[in-house]
Symmetry: C2
Subunit: 354 residues, 2 copies
Amino acid sequence: MTTSRTPAVGPDDEPSARTSPVTMRDVAQAAGVSVATVSHVVNDKPGARIGDAARDRVKQAIEELGYRPNALAQTLVKGNSKFIGLVADAIATTPFAGRIIQGAQDEAWKNGYVLLVANTDGNEGAEEEAISMMLEHKVRGILYSTWYHREASVPVALAETDAVLVDCFSDSAALPAVVPDERQGGRTATELLLTAGHKRVAFINTTTPSPAQAGRLAGYRDALAHAGAPFDESLVIDASPDQEGGYSAAAEVFAQGATAVFCHNDRVAMGFYDAARERNLRIPDDIAVVGFDDQEVISAHLRPPLTTVALPHYELGVAGVRTLLGLDSPTQVPRQLIACPPVPRRSVGAPADA
Amino acid sequence: MTTSRTPAVGPDDEPSARTSPVTMRDVAQAAGVSVATVSHVVNDKPGARIGDAARDRVKQAIEELGYRPNALAQTLVKGNSKFIGLVADAIATTPFAGRIIQGAQDEAWKNGYVLLVANTDGNEGAEEEAISMMLEHKVRGILYSTWYHREASVPVALAETDAVLVDCFSDSAALPAVVPDERQGGRTATELLLTAGHKRVAFINTTTPSPAQAGRLAGYRDALAHAGAPFDESLVIDASPDQEGGYSAAAEVFAQGATAVFCHNDRVAMGFYDAARERNLRIPDDIAVVGFDDQEVISAHLRPPLTTVALPHYELGVAGVRTLLGLDSPTQVPRQLIACPPVPRRSVGAPADA
DNA sequence: ATGAAAGCGCTAACAC
DNA sequence: GTGTTAGCGCTTTCAT
């Protein structure tokens, strides 16, 4: 029972590979050249003049032996690795973090880097450990991300390498950060309603203090101001940022005679839908609604599909690695704002009196 | 403008760290000992007798210099890395893949391994590239996962290392696989309804051939058989596996006089909810419903919250690395079935006539 | 109890 | 054109 050595393989009499790590020396020997020559052809060195004969023999040897360069050895000698660490406080709780990973992964990949991910559940010990491990693996830098936009207290060890904050920021640590532009998002959401002709646009906002709460409200006011519409305090209604909140806040929305409502997020909108349905009100005919987040599994599948504004998680991940790699000339420092684009679906129409 | 060198750091006059990679030699020098000694205290070697004095000096030097062992160098000399590769065909499309990553990450971590993730969007070229890269980084093995349970055609390069399939399987490549137990899940879902006292339990199944389609149906029949209930073909209704499908299939469910319905997945259930509401039917009083998948953002937030059966993504990830590492004595080969547990919420009650 | 030295697989001068 | 050689940071016999 050698189960513990090769648990995942089939018969042990396979080609070779797993058992015999073919090294550059093996190739050199097989091709009858030196390792330097092999190195040169493998890396296609610009200044390296290698004879066609030798080059061919090397290539063939590589092929036959199934040689793979050892990236770790390369890293060791070159001094810089191709790893980028991503520490996330929750990769499974929401579909959101997944998009950040995806964005970061794609962009890292595009630049020849690989993502080393660590999830920490916000546990400080795990965070320190994860960062240590990444540092020990000589990562090029670390992306520290949270699953919702907030201020974060960043582990000190982050200072030991290049780091960028994704979907969070820190006023104490002077680290570059990329975050969603909540304000522009709030404005965009509101304008979706305003440009459809609505005059009394309610805003169900969360009671939880956060960049989202403040930013979206500011954006709401921006849109109103820009449209020359008055800001009516009684049209902004407080609610918990979930379905229950949207459901309960609906009464007030109707009481205020709003013909449209901007919900703090898609879940709130989902609750609002329920309330509207109970009152036999039709969306968008009787009331127009827009959400926020574009939590696809909700927004795209509500009836009617919800017009909303997307949280740019994928772009956040992309921007995170671009900033880390110094690919973007930093236009906004220290916090880079990523736009929240509108996602028009079917929950917005013109007001009844239009 | 040294932007491209240290784009993500603050002032360049920082502690040191990033600029000066402290090596073991530095520590040795500072402590006035040899690198061998340092190595021994760092690794707390069993057989290494190091004087207390020397040991202390080394520890202090490590502390003062902020030394971190270079994991890559360690790997190079020891021959085996602490990486586990995870290639996924879609990490962002659904919240599901995130949970697989999370499970894999947690379990890998627990065993001193780090996850190297690569997303490929199912693109074969990207897959080959990702696997190459992982191989070059001398990963301990590779987890190949898909975001929904299906047969997969696995890249040949996988054969070069230990590999296990997660949430997919392959009949051609003889690779170990861990997949959800669809059949047991189907049975569990049905029993949730049967034990509540329902006699006519409908099953809205998908028309798409898949392990889920076949497995859940088999489970449905198992439950019926075990309860001594007859299998009535007209109670299984075909539908597309989404909200629209559930909505449309509802008519037939009611026409058949069912008092309970097992929906192929949560989205189907969501559509069914809509249809029930339109008919002014109450869940669970007028009709009991159970879903499948436990797509939390749907199931937990429907009104009433949906009783469902969970797809064990997290556990799939865990089992994947355990199998890879040979931690589990393989009881089921080649395909290991992971249980789909019931998630009781509020959409199931006793039938009206009970 | 501690150190010298030989590599791990690879790259980069620099010889020839 | 191609080979020699000296490391990269570390572990590990084997001396002392």
